[in-house]
């Protein structure tokens, strides 16, 4: 029976011109987004791979030189583009992908693409994720707002119910049909995305990318499922289809257009991010205090380079300063990043009321383009920087100038450069990403249950008479 209801509803939608137009339009947008995403992605990845390889090649080819000069010149670490960035670039357009690994200081990513963007950047980027998050629910609304209300207006609903069909069964049939309609659109898009992601993924990451894509797609089924039940529920509760569509559009605008901005403002107000000046002042003060304490402990003075601390101690002092600064950086950057993650957590929880927020977090999390992934890259790059510094300083300690005159003229041999391994960063696995997205997934599941309950409640109140 359920199947028969679903089939009938589906055929009816197919006959309706609305489906053709709406689905056609969204499909064109989806394919454009996929094509653009793929071409951007492949270009950026090729460029980053070449650049990363040339960084290390040039590092190895350095002549004999002072190790600290080599460390000062440093290297760049380029964040490899996630294979799934094709479908959801996440925060990538708003955060850089290049870190300069220099001596003394932990760097942040530079070259934020938004800094080169046009004035229209504020309207968003075209991506499969954006289309599904923003236009997906609208599509469900357009296709389903009169599922109950329209039939009631025409008198069909009363006839159907008088046949003795349970309203809940009717609801499930309609929900299945609506999902199938959306599926007409999503299945080709998902296949195209799977093809593009497989094509774009590098050797050895295809399996992971496809796992991520499946989990990602499942998330969207949940998300659109929430709207399927919400639309049917509202349609059943509304006396006219006009009222249903008005209410649904208002809900859609509230959640897709207004909620992300309002909650960003709210979370910013609740746990504020420090300004650049505050962050730098606190960090610098902490670094100086730590360094002075270490100098006092080790050399009995804080005066840099004098009778007590000759330049032959340069390597020792450098090593000591570097190593004592690592926990300071960890503390300050850790606190900042924790603040950001806290701000995001608040928005994910508010996904209970506005599913788009949980979906956005889940989508970019599974695509590997969220802040959690970015943080693992930043941490890996910083660990690599520390490794370079430690190797260079250790060499300076070993080859300390005891003559006292020729400290900076010391030149290390290229063997030292070769002792630094190449930078390799692998993004965390699909299961790590899923574990990190447990919260948003839970919120989406809760949202689906709530909207299903709501729809069951309103449809069960339908009477034949």
């Amino acid at each position: 029976m359920l199947l028969r209801i679903a089939k009938r509803e589906f055929v009816e939608r197919l006959r309706d011109g609305r489906l053709h137009w709406a689905v056609g339009l969204v499909l064109v947008l989806l394919m454009t987004a996929l094509f653009v995403g793929y071409s951007h992605q492949s270009e950026a990845r090729a460029e980053q791979q070449v650049a990363q390889a040339s960084e290390y090649r040039d590092w190895l080819r350095q002549d004999r030189r002072h190790p600290h000069d080599a460390a000062h010149q440093g290297m760049h670490a380029f964040k490899p583009g996630a294979a799934m960035a094709i479908v959801d670039p996440g925060i990538n357009p708003y955060i850089g992908s290049t870190i300069w690994l220099q001596a003394h200081r932990q760097s942040e990513v530079k070259f934020n693409p938004a800094q080169d963007a046009t004035g229209l950047q504020r309207f968003g980027n075209l991506s499969v994720g954006w289309i599904l998050q923003v236009l997906g629910p609208l599509l469900v609304i357009v296709l389903g707002f009169n599922a109950f209300a329209g039939e009631r207006e025409q008198g069909i609903l009363r006839q159907t119910l008088s046949l003795g069909i349970s309203p809940v069964r009717l609801l499930l049939g309609k929900a299945a049909a609506l999902l199938a309609c959306v599926g007409v659109l999503l299945i080709p898009a998902a296949l195209a995305a799977a093809f593009a992601v497989t094509l774009g993924a590098g050797e050895g990451e295809r399996m992971d990318a496809l796992l991520r894509l499946s989990a990602w797609a499942a998330g969207y089924v949940l998300y659109l499922g929430i709207f399927v039940f919400l639309v049917l529920g509202v349609s059943a509760a509304s006396s006219t289809s006009r009222m249903a569509i008005t209410l649904l559009l208002a809900l859609w605008i509230g959640q897709t257009v207004m909620a992300p901005r309002m909650l960003s403002e709210a979370s910013r107000a609740l746990s504020p991010t420090p300004t650049r000046l505050q962050f730098n002042q606190a960090l610098n003060a902490d670094l100086k205090a730590t360094s002075d304490r270490m100098w006092q402990q080790t050399f009995g003075t804080t005066e840099r380079w004098g009778k007590d601390v000759p330049l032959s101690k340069w390597g020792v002092a450098l090593q000591m300063d570097d190593q004592s600064s690592y926990p300071v950086y960890d503390r300050h950057f850790g606190r900042l990043w924790d603040t950001w993650e806290g701000q995001q957590r608040l928005q994910e929880w508010s996904g209970l009321a506005f599913p788009i927020l949980a979906m956005r977090a889940y989508s970019m999390g599974m695509a590997g383009t969220d802040f959690a992934h970015h943080r693992t890259f930043s941490t890996a790059a910083e660990a690599y920087r520390r490794r370079i510094q430690d190797l260079m300083s250790a060499d300076l300690v070993k080859n300390a100038d005891t003559g006292g005159e020729r400290h900076f003229s010391y030149q290390a041999s290229p063997d030292l450069w070769a002792s630094v391994p190449p930078f390799s960063y692998r993004a965390p696995s699909a299961s790590w990403a899923l574990g990190h997205q447990a919260r948003s997934l839970l919120v989406l599941l809760a949202g689906l249950s709530l909207s299903a309950l709501f729809a069951t409640f309103t449809t069960s109140r339908q009477r034949a008479l």
Partner: protein, 479 residues
């Protein structure tokens, strides 16, 4: 018209929409003011930190000259190579414009402060403010957002059934049997609704801004009054476009339900989809040069320069054990070889990278120019760009800030380079002559001309739509 107003005021929906609009605008204006105030405070703190550092350095220089303090290699205000670099760097800050709170625009994407030193600008002209990328993705809830995104929907809510409702209830036939032209009827209906919506949209923000300016909460700027007037024109022109669309859709004589559907689809296409596609098209046609390539090039050029000055870098500190080497003598100072090496490296890097960095600026300018030409395809894009330009948070004003920072950088180097080359020691009086950044605001005529173009770009499609409506209305079957 009076009759129409009576009818409307009896309808609860108009009041509900008006109240909602008022609340949204109130929240957006309050948020804009709060965000702008936060940014102003942060910038004031940057300026104060610069001033106090400079004052402390001057006091230290006086103490050194009086023999009361000993200079340290990395804390020596007499050394021009240190003062030109990280030790004495100074900020260039872009202040908020008078209308800043009405559109936060790209103020969070574009940096509004740069710490200028003698290094190449590739080193310091990077995003300077710390912000959660998630928030950058979401955008702000400011007045420009409410007007560009939400005002059209509220216009639809009060007028989607402008004519269709009268026809559906049969009153249109009655009305037109009176000596009343359809055009007059429509004009009356439209003006009542426009007054109800534009009243809060224009008067409330202007009033709040005036109060805030009186209280000294926002910047004043030149010609703030005229700029505000242009902003009101822009909002009115944008609203007019949507009213024109409503009239044109109504003129086709479809049912109220169809009208509402067509209008919502138009909104989705013009406000949500078109700007995103335009942005994409512009960046495809005029692509930004590669930042990855810039990073690689910077590293290679630095390595080459370091190699050229390897001898300077290989010289040991001369001051170790001889503190007097750091003291100025007869107006001259002994700059350490490594500091001179770094100075030469940065100077060469700066010259070598300039053409590449200028390419970024040029490309961005081309993108913005192209956008100015094709932006017309989406009235929302025109309105948003126009509002951010008037609020001083758009791309044009930021490009001006970048250009002025580049000039300031030039002046900065012009001041310090001869001092370093001649090993001239700085004296306390020199501190008054160290170049300071002072922002030169955009000429009001430029801002107003751009606003006039935006208003024109909005009026053109509105007139077309009204023309279309007039043509259809003549054939409209009343019964």
């Amino acid at each position: 018209m009076r009759q129409e107003f009576k009818l409307l005021s009896a309808e609860r929906s108009l009041w509900a929409v008006g109240l909602m609009f008022l609340l949204l605008i109130g929240y957006a204006v309050a948020n804009g003011l709060a965000q702008t105030a936060t940014r102003d405070r942060a910038q004031a703190a940057v300026w104060e930190a610069d001033q106090s550092t400079r004052a402390a350095q001057r006091a230290r220089l006086e103490a050194i000259r009086a023999g009361l303090a000993t200079p340290l290699p990395f804390d020596n205000p007499a050394d021009p190579s240190g003062m030109a670099g990280n030790y004495g760097g100074h900020h260039a800050v872009l202040p908020s414009a008078a209308l800043g709170p009405v559109a936060l625009g790209q103020s969070d994407l574009f940096p509004s402060q740069f710490r200028v030193t003698n290094q190449s600008r590739v080193g310091f002209m990077n995003p300077s403010d710390i912000e959660n990328p998630w928030h950058l993705l979401s955008g702000h809830f400011d007045l420009a957002f409410v007007l560009v995104y939400l005002m059209p929907l509220l216009i639809f809510a009060v007028s989607y059934n402008l004519l269709s409702a009268e026809r559906e209830s049969g009153t249109l036939r009655l009305l037109l049997s009176q000596p009343l032209r359809l055009r007059t009827l429509l004009a009356g209906k439209l003006s009542v609704r426009a007054v109800v919506l534009l009243g809060p949209a224009v008067l409330l923000p202007v009033g709040v801004l005036l109060l805030a300016r009186q209280a000294g909460l926002t910047g004043t700027g030149t010609a703030a009054g005229t700029t505000t007037m242009w902003w009101a024109f822009l909002v009115a022109a944008y609203a007019l476009f949507w009213f024109a669309l409503v009239v044109a859709v109504n003129a086709f004589g479809a049912s109220s339900a169809t009208n509402a559907m067509v209008l919502v689809i138009a909104w989705v296409l013009l406000v949500l989809v078109a700007p995103v596609l335009l942005n994409l098209a512009v960046t495809q046609v005029v692509p930004t040069p590669s930042r990855t390539e810039l990073a690689t090039r910077t590293r290679v050029l630095t390595a080459e320069a370091m190699k050229r000055h390897a001898d300077l870098l290989a010289t040991d500190y001369e001051h170790v054990g001889r503190g007097a080497a750091l003291l100025p003598q007869d107006g001259k100072i002994n700059i350490s070889a490594r500091a001179l090496g770094n100075y030469a490296i940065q100077r060469e890097l700066d010259d070598a990278l300039r053409p590449q960095l200028e390419r970024f600026d040029r490309q961005q300018q081309h993108q913005q120019e192209l956008l100015g030409r094709v932006g017309m395809l989406s009235p929302a894009a025109v309105a948003f760009e126009g509002m951010t330009a008037l609020a001083g948070t758009g791309a044009r004003r930021h490009a001006r800030f970048v250009a002025q920072t580049v000039d300031f950088h030039k002046t900065w180097k012009g001041f310090f380079y001869p001092l370093i080359d001649n090993r001239t020691a700085l004296v306390p009086q020199d501190f008054d002559r160290v170049p300071a950044f002072s922002w030169q605001e955009e000429p009001p005529a430029l801002v107003h001309r751009a606003a006039a173009i935006a208003v024109f770009q909005l009026l053109m499609p509105s007139l077309l739509l009204f023309g279309l409506a007039a043509w259809r209305l003549r054939r409209l079957c009343v019964s």
